[in-house]
Symmetry: C3
Subunit: 346 residues, 3 copies
């Protein structure tokens, strides 16, 4: 693709000679036919050494290179450039004869069904959706158009996906929630008869698990992005445009508002409400509901600024403990000395 | 089903007019043909507003609604009602021609074998057991009757399941334990030649991993319930009726007694003994053995009551550090003043 | 196998009568035809009670048993003995007609391809490599010789494996990294167009996920061993001979040097450098780069010795808080008393 054509497609001005661009790369690794980008000013020095054929950058850096596309958001425009060069994965088309599609399922003619896919009774798979090998679509699932379901994903019965949903390999949606009733003779399973409902343009990372509701629905709002190995319990509600980083666990019935960001390895207890726009720092343990816009971190989660100060103290605790013991002795000594002096004075 | 019939099946008395019940739902979402339940008294107010056709509740709440089943354990009886209305998942019967069953395997005639199931040499699959798509049963595995093995579960060679075991999608039992021997030229694999043995009525959540023993057996006792994304190392022994919540990790050779409850994201070090009835709070790190009946929390795990008090201090640590520094100065000043006064007195 | 033959194969001297050895077991469980081992001196007492036919042990324990192989590294030599008796898993040979191999893929004649394996266009599978059921090999993947890829593993397009790589069930390599660009209308996906490159003799545990690079490569160095349910973000670089224990998460672009050991459930933030030989204690949170040879633990990670002392204080924090409050009062009282005495003295 010509650089001029790329600029036009991205709606950006360009400077320097026109040239053929064949790929995308970092400033460090780009060659003369690659386009690269400068988003973080601390890497501006690399503009001198890069071999990139062209760079997407902010206007103020334009003087430091010859061939550039000028952007107000270089990272976003580079992401769009990458999209233009990216080739979707897959090397199969049509509906494989080695798949198993229940006669009462409806799969769009232009959906791609790899070998070893199972589609149960009553399931519907939308136009342009791809089911890679080993995908299981349980009965009565509904998959919207243009979804990409990577290999070995399991969608248990009744799972519903909007349009443009991406599920990475090994994702499980609609597994039973973890619910048991105590009986005299031991625990009995509370049958999990709800389902999982996923909005539009949601992306869910590899081997992440989302349990079906006990009753009703576990929901993931449109635009939310969930990383690998995340656990969402039954009846969890994730609002729109949330970000859940890998290995997060959210216990049952907790509700996240819109635009919540939860960093890696955080645990959130059940039956809480995490308000719109809350942010939770990595490895935190959240045991209470949070009003909208709260930033917390730590175990237990506290105000983020307090957490930073508290963290700074952790390594000094042994010294502090020694100081407190010393102060105790000194105060005792002072009390004794003062008493003795008082007697002397009498 | 008639309400009277439901009452009779559950062994409960009912009040109010008989009627047709067609489903189950929460008080909030139930319609006039649903049965619901009241277990937590704090929701008693909803008895006024619910549209439920009937409610399972404790006798003392009976006056607050017209149509009710009276129960001493409403949650348990509702779970049993849900069971009556629940339809098991699946839309396949028989042994699929698209499965691969080794000629030396034995699969019960009334077992269900979905397409794309693999059953290795010497494996035995019991009566009434269902193997969903993508399940791999390694050689010499033994699966008891009435097990449900959901899609894409992997049972490595020699794994043994009792009766009524439920394995959710993506579970891996019998993967190699993490064992290496240090040699001059680098690490060598310690071949993991043990197996995994699972008792009766065990349920294991999606994408949970249980490693085979290095030698001998990794064991999960009957009635234990394990949530999603849990990791059990080689030679771990889980007693009967334990509860392990999601993302827990138990390192190799640790033994849990009966009725141990371990909350989400806890880590337990290897070669420990966690006594019968111990409870471990969420996100804890357990680095020492625990006598029976101990409740611990925290990193490192401590007595749970102490943990709660310690947690309450965490957010005040910065202030405490400042106070200690101030006290140090004040004590120095007091010492100086006292010394000076002593001199004055002399 | 005769004990004499075993001794010869392992290059060890033996004492006692020659005999037939048919298996391997722990001292506790071994029978008269098993060989066992003594590596940890604290179990030396079991030499009296064991029924083992022979024991691999250090020379100094030779007098305590009749039949022994004398070793300078009993654990390593026992591992090698186990290897001699271990039977590789699997009960299939050849290339299954129930697999799907793209006509443009190249699979070595002596590779084993189970039923329900998918191999995409341009993929190459090396000699002696086994692909178990449900394995997906994306287009242009390159798998070296003698790899073992257990069931339901997913290798997305372009993944490259060296020789002798072992991937346990449910592993996902090459899933998209978690990268999004903020746009006015919401987040846009940053297409992940890099790949995953794995060196020789790497072993990766069940359900572990390794994301492909955004651009370039996510790399795992030769000899590294990774446990179950680990998460490696895009562009992570793991050096040679590292050990990552289960449920560890390493965020994007972080680099680990050689011989790094990271214990279970640790989280490491993105864009860090963890130097050669660093060791990180279980459940730690690492938020800064570490120079080579550093041992850290804790949240936030601190020097390991400091962590141990800090941990010891955690349970005493409530008492310490009370002490500090008491000291504050006592210091106030002392100040008042001193002032009063000063006045008295005046």
């Amino acid at each position: 693709m010509k650089l001029s054509e790329l600029a036009s497609t991205l709606g950006l001005a360009y400077q320097g000679p026109d040239k053929e661009i064949r790929g995308v790369a970092t400033l460090e690794e780009a060659g003369p036919e690659d386009i690269s980008f400068l988003a973080n000013p601390k890497y501006a020095g690399m503009l001198q050494s890069t071999r990139a054929g062209a760079v997407i950058l902010a206007e103020r850096f334009g003087e430091q290179t010859t061939t550039a596309l000028v952007s107000e958001n270089p990272y976003l425009d580079f992401a769009r450039a990458v999209q233009l060069f990216a080739k979707p994965q897959g090397s199969f088309n049509g509906h494989s004869q080695q798949a198993w599609i229940h006669p009462e399922a409806e799969v769009a003619d232009d959906a791609v069904v790899y070998p070893f896919v199972s589609v149960g009774a009553g399931a519907r798979v939308g136009s342009g959706t791809t089911l890679f090998s080993g995908v299981y679509v349980g009965e009565d699932c509904q998959l919207g158009p243009n979804c990409v379901i990577y290999p070995n994903v399991t969608l248990m019965a009744g799972t519903q996906l909007g349009q443009g949903v991406i599920l990475h390999a090994g994702v499980v949606l609609g597994s039973d929630g973890f619910g048991f009733a105590e009986a005299a003779a031991g625990r009995e399973k509370f049958p999990q008869v709800g389902r999982v409902v996923v909005g539009d343009n949601v992306e869910i990372g590899a081997n992440t698990c989302v349990d079906r509701a006990a009753l009703g629905e576990t929901r993931i709002g449109s635009g939310s992005k969930i990383d690998n190995l995340v656990q969402l319990g039954h009846n969890v509600q994730v609002g729109e445009n949330c970000i859940l980083v890998s290995q997060v666990g959210i216990a049952g019935s907790t509700k996240l508002g819109r635009n919540v960001i939860i960093a890696g390895q955080v645990g959130v207890a059940g039956h809480l409400e995490i308000g719109e726009g809350c942010r939770v720092g990595a490895k935190s343990g959240v045991g209470r509901s949070l009003p909208p816009g709260t930033d917390v971190s730590g175990i237990p989660a506290m105000d983020h600024a307090t957490f930073l100060k508290s963290s700074a103290v952790q390594g000094r605790l042994p010294e502090m403990a020694r100081t407190v013991r010393r102060l105790e002795k000194e105060v005792e000594a002072l009390k004794a000395a003062l008493a003795s002096q008082g007697e002397t004075n009498v």
